[in-house]
Amino acid sequence: MSIKYTEDHEWIKVDGDTGTVGISPYAATQLGDVVFVELPEIGREMDKGDEAAVVESVKAASEVYAPVGGEVIAVNEALEDAPETVNASADGDGWFLKIKISDASELESLMDEAAYKTYCDGL
């Protein structure tokens, strides 16, 4: 399983043609306390860069974009009752959605873990 990152701080863990999407611990820290996550409907087709979810902190709403295109096949319903999981485990239990990746070549434009770390250090 490989993990890739976008410049907007989404991550995608790839397992075969399924990608699990969330936001990085860096992004979760920047947002502060997450109080609500709006998740997409299962079955929705998304293009790379489409708004996939919305994460709300006490102060503001921030969009989460699809790292690659595909069909939403699952959402993390546990976040409805426990949005704070995003802060506690951004790269684990705080995942947002799973997609069936439509074009694996789109993954190539994303950063690997080392490149993302360098990217964050430069911010």
Partner: protein, 391 residues
């Protein structure tokens, strides 16, 4: 990110303190201000409700009005031309909340007005105005104050902090026990000592904008740096940023200028009738905008500011459209977010008159989806003002 004007931003005397405390700084009303500290907005909010929060509000404007004849009536009558509050009846040490209105009765700014209690200065008024409006307020005051009434702006010499929360009285009482007996909306000038190496001369009022018991403290810049350093030594005191200041005042149902109130609304529409004393409600009361205030009172206005509680968990932010249950637009959210004490989304907004009653169901259009909500009574979190010791 707003990185365009960073170099031109003004700094308060406590700027270095904020940076040393690890604050995230943001541009706000022309100042580089702390929006949050490492504790985070939610943590800071809850800490203030449970213990004591320390806020730097030095960006706000501090002004004194004094008259050459040293007669309070001269100053009070002059200010009563600009605000709907009753100023002439203020006793030394009393404070009142009011608004500067324009000719049409729209709100130019909201402010706190205190009559000084210090010997020789009982004729003077001390005003605290919003940072974003202060330059316009100063012009407004200078334009309308008659000859013999002097407008003395003190932003360059005085800092202002707020200490808010249930532990505020006990903690400030360590510096001067007298402050524990002040009641809500009164103030005094005194020396704060306690563990301070040198005493600090301060203007202390029992007020604030969080809904909690607490104080606003004005002192000279260099003294304030020392006082804040000392206050932060208390385990129960945490520095609080603008983020939590906003969620606290929203839970307390208090209006924020530029959001819930501005030049398009009158104090009556904004639900601030309590701040217009009875004999000032006449069209002939003699202040700018008095006609509109009286007319709004008689007509009961077409729209009113109300509290709105989204039924679900999704916060509804400023500018969210409010609809009735048939899908007709009836208003707009002016402040909205998440209330950490309430543990859910909260909002304020204007709705047409028919829908102001608490319990009225409405819909909020959040990201294109209609979400159920209910009109509620303000505040969302009960006020804990200190109104005196019960006997």
């Amino acid at each position: 990110m707003s990185d365009d004007t960073t170099t031109e931003l003004k700094q308060t005397a406590l700027h270095a303190t904020h940076v040393a405390l690890g604050a995230k700084m943001v541009p706000f009303a022309g100042y580089d201000m702390p929006v949050q500290y490492p504790l985070g907005v939610k943590g800071e909010h809850l800490h203030t409700r449970e213990k004591a929060g320390l806020f730097d509000v030095s960006h706000m404007g501090q002004v004194f009005l004094m008259s050459d004849d040293k007669d309070f009536a001269t100053v009070a009558k002059a200010l009563e031309k600009l605000v709907p509050a009753d100023i002439q009846s203020l006793k030394p040490g009393q404070q009142r909340y009011s608004q500067f209105l324009n000719e049409d009765g729209g709100i130019l700014d909201d402010l706190m007005i205190s009559r000084l209690a210090m010997k020789g200065y009982e004729h003077a008024l001390y005003l605290v105005v919003n940072a974003g409006c202060k330059e316009a307020d100063y012009k407004h005051l200078k334009k309308h104050m008659p000859k013999g009434v002097n407008v003395m702006i003190k932003d360059d010499t005085l800092s202002l902090i707020a200490l808010q929360g249930p532990r505020a009285a006990a903690i400030l009482g360590c510096f001067a026990p007298e402050v524990e007996d002040l009641i809500f909306m009164t103030h005094t000038d005194l020396e704060l000592k306690g563990t301070l190496a040198e005493p600090v001369w301060a203007h202390v009022s029992r007020s604030g904008y969080t809904g909690e018991d607490g104080y606003e403290i004005s002192a000279k810049h260099e003294d304030m740096v020392r006082l804040v350093e000392e206050l932060l030594k208390y385990d129960d005191v945490e520095p609080i940023g603008l983020g939590a200041r906003d969620s606290l005042r929203l839970e307390a149902g208090l209006c924020l200028y530029g959001h819930d109130i501005d030049t398009t609304v009158s104090p009556i529409e904004a639900g601030l009738i309590w701040s217009v004393q009875k004999h000032r409600r006449d069209a002939k009361a003699g202040y700018l905008g008095a006609k509109r205030v009286a007319a709004d009172l008689a007509d009961k206005t077409t729209k009113r500011l109300v509290g709105i509680k989204p039924d679900g968990k999704a916060p509804a932010r400023e500018h969210t459209e409010i609809q009735d249950m048939d899908g007709n637009v009836i208003g707009e959210i002016t402040s909205g977010g998440f209330g950490p004490t309430v543990e859910g989304p909260i909002a304020m907004g204007y709705v047409t008159r028919k829908f102001v009653k608490a319990g009225t169901p409405v819909q909020l259009i959040v990201r294109g989806k209609a979400r159920p909500a209910t009109v509620v009574r303000l505040p969302f979190s009960p006020h804990n003002y200190f109104r005196g010791h019960s006997s």
